[in-house]
C-alpha cells in the first residue's frame, strides 16, 4: 500500500466521525439527484409508449383548420401517395352525452379557475401535472368512415352501415353504458338518441400531449380538437349529420402508413403543400415534440438543476471538511514534509480523501436513492417510478465526483504549501483577514455586473439577456467572495447581541467564526446553496405571480356563454334575485395582420402573440362610462373621457400598457386585424388610450374570452358596434355578460344565482370572479413553489450535517482554549452556550448570505425573464414573501442550533484538565 493510501486510512481511523458525517452529506446529495433524475429517466422511457397509445393504428394525421375542409382532389392525391395505405376523413365536435338514468351527463368542458392551469398555467410548473382526469374530459362526437376501429375493440362491433355508435371504454364506464345502451347526444338545444354498438380502447392523452399537439398544429379549434379525441363517440358521417343537424367539415385526416414508410419523404411531399390550412403530424413528430416539449424540458431541467444544486452542496461540505483536515493537521503535514514526503504526495493525500468520500457518497447515494424509489413506488399515493436509469447513475456520479474533486483543489494546494519551519515552530500562518479587503472589493465588483448589464449598459436585448444569464454565475461568485466580509460583519453585529442574550463575554464571540475562515466559508456557503435557492424561488415565484393577479379594473363577475343568448333574454338575467346590474358585452379574438409584437423575432411570450382579444361594449354605457363603470380602467396614457369619445367615433381601441411597450405603438397609432370570418380582409384600429390591466391573462382565460386561440397578446376594449360590423357578429345575440350583485359575492354564489337560467345555455357557462382567480392562483402558486422548493430544503437539511462537522472541528481546534476558559472560571453551561452560539452564528452568516444572494438573484431573474422567457414583456415588481422566508431562515438557525447540540454537550462534559493537556497539540 502506498504512503498516500496509508496516511489517508490513518486519517479515517483518527477521525471516523467526520468521515461518516461528510460521507452522509454526499450520500444524501447523490440520493437527491437519483430521486429527481429518475423522474426524467422514467419520462424518457415512457415517451414511445405514450406516443403510440395516443396514435392508435394510424401512423400520421392531418389537422385541418376550420373552414379549410380538404378538397376531394387532395384526398385523392393523399390516397395515391406511396407511403399511405388509407386515409380516413374525420369530423369531430364536443357534445353533451348522457347515459342511462342515474348517471351524470358528460358535457363540454367548462373551464374553471383551477382548470386554467391545465393550459397556460402549465408553464408555471412545467411538469404537466395539471392533467385533467378522464372523467372530466369532454365527450367528442367523431364522424368517421374508417372500416376498422382506430384502437382495439373491447366489446361489440365496429361501425357498419346501420346507425349506431362505438364509444371509448372510459366514456362507457363514466356513463355506465355498454353495448346496447341508448345514449342521448345533445347539440345546442336538440337531444337525440343513439345506440351503443361497440366499445373501443380509450385514447390515452395527457395535457402534455394535448399541448404538444396544439403547438405542432397551431391550435386550430379547441372545440373540435387537433388530434384523436379522448372520450369519443364514433359514428358514421351520416349519423353525425343526423345528430348535429347539419354536415360538419372534416377537421382531421387519419393516415394509415405502409410498414417502413419514409416519413421524411412524406413530410417533404406534404408539409408545405398543406400549409396554412392544415398540418401533417406523424407519430415520429409527436415523439420528437414530446421529447422537446416544455414538460419534458422542465423535467430535464429539473434533473440538471438537482444535479447542480446537489453538486454545489456536496462541494462546499467536502471543501469545509477537507479544509478543517488541512488546518488541524498542519503540524502533521509539516512533519511529513520534513521527513521527505513531496508536495505532490501531500496534495495527493487530500485528493485521495476526496475521492474516497466521493466513492462512498456515490455508492451510498445510489443505494439510498434506489431505496427511496422503491418506497415511493410501493406507495400508491406517490406517482413515482422506481427506475434507476442511466441518467440518474451518471448525474449522481457527476455530483459526487466532480463536487469532491472541485472541493479538494484548494485544500490540496494549501496542504502542499505548508511551511515546515513556521508550522513546527508553532507560529501562526498569515491571517486570512489580510485578504478581506481584496475579497470584498472583488465580490462587490462581481455582484455589480448583473445590475450593470440589466439596467445600465446600452445593449441589444438578445445580448443583454445572454450577458445577464452569464452574470448569474458571477453574481454567485461575487457573494462567495463577499462571504468573509459577511462573516466579519455578523461576528461584530450579531456576536455581541448573542453574547448578551446567552450571558457570555462578548469578546469570545467576536472571532469564533473567523478563527478558521475557510471552514466557516465552506459551511456557510453549503447552507446557502439550499437556503439561497429557496429564497430565490420564493421571491421570483411570488414576484412573477403579481402580473397575473386581477387588479382593481376587474369587474365583480364575468359570465361567458359560448352558445349565446338572445338580446331579448337580457331582462331575464337582470331580473334574477340579488342581481344589481347586468352589462351585455361582446367578444372576438382576431389575429393581428402584422407581427406588431415582434413575436417572430423575439419569440413567443405571454404578451407576444399573433392575436388580441377585443371586448366590445357601449362606450357611453355602464361598462366603461359613468361614475362606477364595470371596468374601472386605470389610464396610464390618455384619459378616460378622450378614449371613450374616440371609441364612439368608431374603430378605436383601448389597449393595455404592456401592448404599447411590446409594439412600440402609442395613442393615435394603428394596427390591423384579420376578422376570423373573412380571412382575406383586414380592418384597422387606432389606439385611443392605454390602461394598466394586471391579471388580464387569467381573467380572459377564466371568463372564457379566448374563444379561438389559447393565448392572446392583449385584452383590448372597443365599441360593440364596431365589433359587430367588422367581425360579423350576430347583432341579436350576446355571448358575454358583466355582472354585479347587490352584495360582494363568490363564484359559487354567482353560479347559484344564474342556476335558473343555466339550462338555456346548456349549462355551458364560464364564470369569472376576481376573488376566485386570486384565491386559486395563490393556492396553486403556493403548491407549485412548495413543489420546487423541496429540493433546496432537502439540500439545506443535508448541508446542516456540515455544520456538525464545522462545530466539531472548531471545538477540536480550540480544546485548550476551552480548557483555559474553564480554568479561569467559565462554567460548563458557559461552554455549552459558547458552542451553541457559534452554531447560531454560522446559521446567521448563512441566513445573511442567502438573503443577499436570494434577493439579488430573484431580482435578476425577474428582470431577465422580461427578455428571454415566456414571461417576456412583463415587468413585475419584486414581492418578498417575508413570512415564508423568515420561517425558513428561522428553521435554518434551528437546524444549526440542533447541529451544535451534540458537540456542545460533549465539550460541556469534558474534563478541564484533559482539555488543557490534550488540546494543546491541536493548535
Amino acid at each position: 500500500m502506498g504512503v498516500v493510501a496509508r496516511l489517508s486510512l490513518a486519517e479515517v481511523r483518527q477521525r471516523p466521525g467526520r468521515l461518516v458525517v461528510t460521507a452522509l452529506a454526499v450520500v444524501a446529495s447523490a440520493a437527491a439527484v437519483v430521486w429527481v433524475v429518475s423522474g426524467y429517466d422514467a419520462l424518457s422511457e415512457s415517451m414511445d409508449e405514450v406516443g403510440e397509445a395516443y396514435h392508435g393504428r394510424y401512423g400520421a394525421w392531418i389537422s385541418v383548420e376550420e373552414g379549410g375542409a380538404p378538397a376531394p382532389k387532395l384526398l385523392e392525391l393523399l390516397r395515391a401517395d406511396p407511403a399511405i395505405t388509407r386515409v380516413d376523413a374525420v369530423q369531430q365536435l364536443q357534445v353533451v352525452v348522457s347515459g342511462p338514468a342515474g348517471t351524470e351527463p358528460a358535457g363540454p368542458w367548462t373551464p374553471t379557475v383551477g382548470d386554467a392551469y391545465g393550459g397556460e398555467g402549465a408553464y408555471m410548473d412545467g411538469d404537466g401535472s395539471a392533467d385533467r382526469h378522464d372523467h372530466e374530459r369532454p365527450p367528442v362526437l367523431v364522424g368517421t368512415d374508417a372500416p376498422e376501429p382506430p384502437r382495439a375493440l373491447v366489446a361489440g362491433r365496429w361501425l357498419g352501415d346501420a346507425p349506431g355508435a362505438v364509444i371509448s371504454d372510459h366514456l362507457a364506464e363514466r356513463l355506465g353504458a355498454d353495448v346496447g345502451t341508448t345514449l342521448q347526444v345533445k347539440v345546442d338545444q336538440d337531444e337525440l338518441p343513439v345506440e351503443v354498438v361497440g366499445v373501443v380502447k380509450e385514447v390515452i392523452a395527457s395535457t402534455v400531449i394535448g399541448e404538444t399537439v396544439s403547438d405542432l398544429t397551431g391550435a386550430r379549434d379547441p372545440r373540435r380538437g387537433d388530434g384523436p379525441a379522448a372520450g369519443a363517440v364514433y359514428v358514421r358521417p351520416a349519423e353525425l349529420e343526423r345528430l348535429v343537424g347539419h354536415a360538419l367539415h372534416t377537421n382531421l385526416l387519419c393516415l394509415e402508413l405502409r410498414h417502413g414508410a419514409d416519413l421524411a419523404g412524406l413530410h417533404a411531399r406534404w408539409s408545405e403543400r398543406l400549409k396554412p390550412a392544415a398540418s401533417l403530424l406523424s407519430l415520429a413528430d409527436l415523439k420528437t415534440a414530446l421529447s422537446e416539449s416544455a414538460s419534458t424540458k422542465a423535467t430535464r431541467n429539473q434533473a440538471y438543476a438537482a444535479t447542480a444544486v446537489s453538486l454545489l452542496a456536496a462541494l462546499f461540505i467536502i471543501f469545509a471538511a477537507l479544509s478543517m483536515g488541512v488546518t488541524e493537521r498542519a503540524r502533521e503535514l509539516a512533519v511529513l514534509r520534513a521527513v521527505g514526503i513531496s508536495r505532490r504526495q501531500t496534495a495527493g493525500l487530500i485528493l485521495a480523501e476526496a475521492l474516497g468520500l466521493a466513492g462512498v457518497g456515490w455508492l451510498g447515494g445510489l443505494a439510498a436513492g434506489w431505496l427511496l424509489l422503491l418506497v415511493a413506488a410501493s406507495d400508491a399515493a406517490v406517482a413515482h417510478h422506481a427506475s434507476l436509469g442511466p441518467a440518474a447513475v451518471a448525474l449522481s456520479g457527476v455530483c459526487a465526483f466532480v463536487g469532491s474533486l472541485a472541493a479538494a483543489v484548494l485544500p490540496a494546494w494549501h496542504a502542499s504549501q505548508v511551511d515546515v519551519v513556521q508550522t513546527l515552530a508553532g507560529r501562526r500562518a498569515v491571517s486570512a483577514w489580510r485578504w478581506l479587503p481584496h475579497s470584498v472589493v472583488l465580490g462587490l465588483a462581481l455582484v455589480s455586473l448583473t445590475p450593470l448589464i440589466l439596467r445600465v449598459l446600452p445593449l441589444e436585448d438578445g445580448l443583454r439577456a445572454a450577458l445577464a444569464g452569464a452574470s448569474l454565475i458571477t453574481l454567485c461568485l461575487g457573494f462567495l467572495c463577499l462571504c468573509p466580509g459577511l462573516i466579519w460583519l455578523v461576528e461584530r453585529v450579531c456576536g455581541p447581541a448573542l453574547a448578551a442574550l446567552l450571558g457570555l463575554p462578548a469578546p469570545l464571540l467576536r472571532a469564533q467564526l473567523s478563527a478558521n475562515l475557510a471552514r466557516t466559508v465552506g459551511t456557510c456557503t453549503a447552507l446557502t446553496v439550499g437556503l439561497g435557492l429557496f429564497i430565490t424561488i420564493q421571491v421570483w415565484g411570488y414576484s412573477m405571480l403579481g402580473p397575473f393577479l386581477p387588479g382593481r379594473w376587474t369587474p365583480p363577475g364575468l359570465v361567458s356563454i359560448p352558445t349565446c343568448i338572445a338580446v331579448q333574454e337580457l331582462p331575464d338575467y337582470a331580473a334574477l334575485p340579488g342581481v344589481e346590474r347586468v352589462v351585455p358585452l361582446l367578444v372576438e379574438q382576431p389575429r393581428l395582420a402584422d407581427d406588431v409584437t415582434d413575436m417572430q423575432q423575439k419569440g413567443e411570450s405571454v404578451v407576444r402573440q399573433n392575436n388580441v382579444i377585443l371586448l366590445g361594449c357601449d362606450p357611453s354605457g355602464p361598462a366603461l362610462a359613468g361614475e362606477h363603470p364595470l371596468f374601472a380602467l386605470d389610464f396610464v396614457q390618455g384619459s378616460r373621457e378622450e378614449a371613450l369619445a374616440k371609441l364612439l367615433q368608431g374603430r378605436h381601441v383601448i389597449v393595455p400598457d404592456h401592448f404599447v411597450r411590446e409594439t412600440g405603438l402609442g395613442i393615435g397609432e394603428t394596427f390591423r386585424l384579420i376578422p376570423p370570418t373573412s380571412p382575406t380582409v383586414t380592418v384597422e384600429y387606432t389606439i385611443a388610450g392605454v390602461v394598466a390591466l394586471p391579471g388580464w391573462h387569467f381573467v380572459t382565460k377564466n371568463a372564457g374570452l379566448r374563444r379561438r386561440l389559447p393565448r392572446a397578446a392583449a385584452l383590448t376594449f372597443t365599441s360593440a358596434e364596431d365589433l359587430r360590423r367588422d367581425f360579423g357578429l350576430d347583432p341579436t345575440r350576446i355571448d358575454l355578460l358583466g355582472f354585479e350583485l347587490a352584495h360582494p359575492f363568490t363564484e359559487r354564489e354567482l353560479r347559484d344565482t344564474l342556476e335558473p337560467l343555466a339550462e338555456r345555455a346548456n349549462g355551458n357557462l364560464s364564470i369569472m370572479t376576481p376573488s376566485a382567480i386570486d384565491d386559486s392562483l395563490r393556492t396553486r402558486t403556493d403548491a407549485i413553489l412548495w413543489g420546487v422548493s423541496q429540493l433546496p430544503l432537502i439540500t439545506l437539511l443535508v448541508t446542516s450535517l456540515g455544520v456538525i462537522n464545522a462545530i466539531v472541528a472548531s471545538i477540536r481546534a480550540r480544546r485548550w482554549e476551552l480548557g483555559v476558559l474553564r480554568a479561569i472560571g467559565v462554567t460548563r453551561g458557559g461552554l455549552v452556550r459558547l458552542v451553541l452560539a457559534e452554531a447560531l452564528l454560522v446559521g446567521a452568516v448563512a441566513c445573511a448570505l442567502s438573503l443577499s444572494l436570494g434577493l439579488s438573484a430573484s431580482w435578476a431573474g425577474v428582470s431577465l425573464a422580461q427578455f428571454i422567457s415566456f414571461f417576456g414583456g412583463l415587468a413585475p415588481p419584486i414581492v418578498i414573501p417575508w413570512a415564508k422566508i423568515l420561517a425558513c431562515t428561522g428553521g435554518t438557525l434551528l437546524l444549526c442550533l440542533v447541529a451544535g447540540v451534540w458537540p456542545a454537550i460533549q465539550i460541556g462534559r469534558s474534563d478541564t484538565l484533559e482539555l488543557l493537556q490534550a488540546g494543546r497539540g491541536s493548535r
Binding site: R428, G503, P505, A506, P507, L508, R510, A511, Q512, S514, A515, W816, E817, G819, V820, L821, R822, A823, I824, G825, V826, T827, R828, G830, D911, T912, L913, L916, R920
Partner: protein, 248 residues
C-alpha cells in the same frame, strides 16, 4: 496569622493504562499570607498534580485542601470549583494560554467577563501600566513577545484580586533573562499587594525568588530550603534529592 492555604495528607492516584500511579503520597503544605513559595522537583515528582488539586482542576484521592480556613477545596462541586477558580485564585500557565483572538485588554479582563462583572474604573489601566503593557493593550497575543504574553497571563490572574496565585512553570517557555524578569514581577506583586504565590518549577533560578522552597520527590515533600542564591539553592536541592541533609 491564618494560613491562606493548608494542604494536609494529600494523596492522588490515577490510572495510566493498567498501572496505577501515585502522583501524591501524603503531601502537607501551608502557605501564609503574602508568602511566595516554590515547589521544586523533577518531572513526575507530583508538583503539577499538587497545583491542579489546589486549583480544583482535579480531585485528590485523599487529604484536605483548605483555602483561607474555609471549605475543603476537594469537596467542592463543579459549579463551586468554577467559582473558586474564578474568584479566589489566579492561574498562570507555562504556555501562557492566552486566547489568540482576544486583545491584551480583553484577555486580562476575561475572568471578570466570564463572571459577568465589569472591572472597577481604572483597574485595568492601572494593572496594565504596572505590568508594562500600557502601550500594548490593543494588540493580540501573536503580536507580543513571550515575556509580554506571560505578563498578560499574570494580569489575567490578578484582575479578580485573588488571595492566591498558582503559577505552573511560569518561565518554562521563556529565556533566562525574560524568565527572571517575570519572577521579579511576581515577587514584587506578591510584596506590594500581599498576594500569596505558589510557584511550581524545576529550575533553581526560578525558585530562588521564593521565600521558601519545598522540594518534591515521588509525590512527597522531601525538604524545605531557604537559600539566597540560585547556585546555593541548586546545590542544596541536589543534596536534598540525593538524600543528604534533608529537612522535611
Amino acid at each position: 496569622m491564618n494560613a491562606v492555604l493548608e494542604v494536609q495528607g494529600l494523596h492522588k492516584q490515577f490510572k495510566q493504562g493498567e498501572r496505577t500511579i501515585a502522583a501524591l503520597q501524603g503531601v502537607d503544605l501551608t502557605l501564609a499570607p503574602g508568602e511566595l513559595v516554590a515547589v521544586m522537583g523533577a518531572s513526575g515528582s507530583g508538583k503539577s498534580t499538587l497545583l491542579h488539586c489546589v486549583a480544583a482542576l482535579t480531585q485528590p484521592t485523599a487529604g484536605q485542601i483548605r483555602f483561607q480556613g474555609g471549605k475543603d477545596v476537594a469537596s467542592l462541586t463543579d459549579a463551586e470549583a468554577t467559582r473558586f477558580r474564578r474568584d479566589e485564585i489566579g492561574l498562570v500557565f507555562q504556555a501562557f494560554n492566552l486566547l489568540p483572538t482576544l486583545t491584551v485588554d480583553e484577555n486580562v479582563q476575561l475572568p471578570l467577563l466570564a463572571a459577568g462583572r465589569a472591572p472597577a474604573a481604572g483597574q485595568v489601566d492601572a494593572l496594565l501600566q504596572r505590568l508594562g503593557l500600557g502601550e500594548r493593550r490593543g494588540h493580540r497575543p501573536d503580536a507580543l513577545s513571550g515575556g509580554e504574553q506571560q505578563r498578560v497571563a499574570i494580569g489575567r490572574a490578578l484582575i479578580t484580586e485573588p488571595a492566591l496565585i498558582l503559577a505552573d512553570e511560569p518561565t518554562g517557555s521563556l529565556d533566562s533573562v525574560t524568565g527572571a524578569s517575570i519572577m521579579k514581577l511576581l515577587s514584587e506583586l506578591c510584596r506590594e499587594q500581599q498576594k500569596t504565590v505558589l510557584v511550581v518549577t524545576h529550575e533553581a533560578a526560578v525558585a530562588q525568588w521564593a521565600d521558601r522552597v519545598v522540594v518534591f520527590k515521588d509525590g512527597r515533600n522531601l525538604a524545605e530550603l531557604r537559600e539566597e542564591s540560585a547556585e546555593a539553592l541548586s546545590v542544596a536541592y541536589q543534596r536534598a534529592v540525593a538524600g543528604e541533609g534533608a529537612t522535611p
